[in-house]
Symmetry: C2
């Protein structure tokens, strides 16, 4: 049973334009077309799109999703080690982002704490002063 793009969008919760986008960048294969040129998707497309959505939700970039799909497309040629490596690398990137944001928050907390937030002229606000200051 084949469905149109609108149905696939509805079923998957994925924006219809996004489906077209995934085709353009090669994550989804070009589907066969009806006589009038409408895209017709089957179960394969549905499950591949689900994979893509799942991986994107987990923060994998489109490029990494492509890599994961490649592993999945020829599983006999690849090892679980490869899959785990991609995953662990991604986890490490996220950990690093967390650390960076925590550092940032510390700096911001420190800067913010110097300002009393009073309803008085912003002229000598320590936050603005610290942004302008030399060194």
């Amino acid at each position: 049973m084949m469905i149109t793009r609108g149905k696939l969008s509805e079923q998957s919760g994925c924006n219809a334009e996004t489906i077209r986008y995934y085709e353009r960048i090669g994550l989804l294969p070009d589907p066969p077309r009806s006589e009038s040129g409408y895209r017709m998707y089957d179960e394969e497309h549905v499950s591949r799109l689900r994979f893509i959505q799942r991986a994107r939700e987990l923060g994998f970039s489109a490029e990494r999703v492509r890599d994961l799909l490649n592993l999945s497309d020829s599983p006999k040629q690849h090892t679980r080690a490869e899959v785990k490596e991609l995953t662990e690398a991604h986890i490490e990137e996220i950990s690093e982002k967390i650390r960076d944001l925590q550092k940032l928050k510390k700096r911001l907390d420190a800067i913010s704490s110097h300002c009393d937030g009073a309803m008085e002229s912003a002229a000598d606000c320590p936050i603005l002063v610290s942004l302008f200051a030399k060194q």
Copy 2:
């Protein structure tokens, strides 16, 4: 003493194209030009650029930097409360990002832990399986 864009770039560590970009989006005012059309910057530009760089490093979006600059440009018309409010809102956004990434990492750790990372066929790798799985 006026300096050219290259000098400002060198002095500030800000990419020369980025300076032009900040002018285009209105964070830096259009500088006066030399007879031949070269941009000529003074101390005001230097310190304003420093402000922008500082704020960007702290993760403020260009739009928020614009807001901070507006407060700073007419400090008598504004209160420290406004500056602090912008700052605290930004801190809260960052805190939320941290929480989101921590949730993400938890999910990824859980998924990854199911895979032994063996040098065997990726065919039934639990990571790939979980990405494909219905519900």
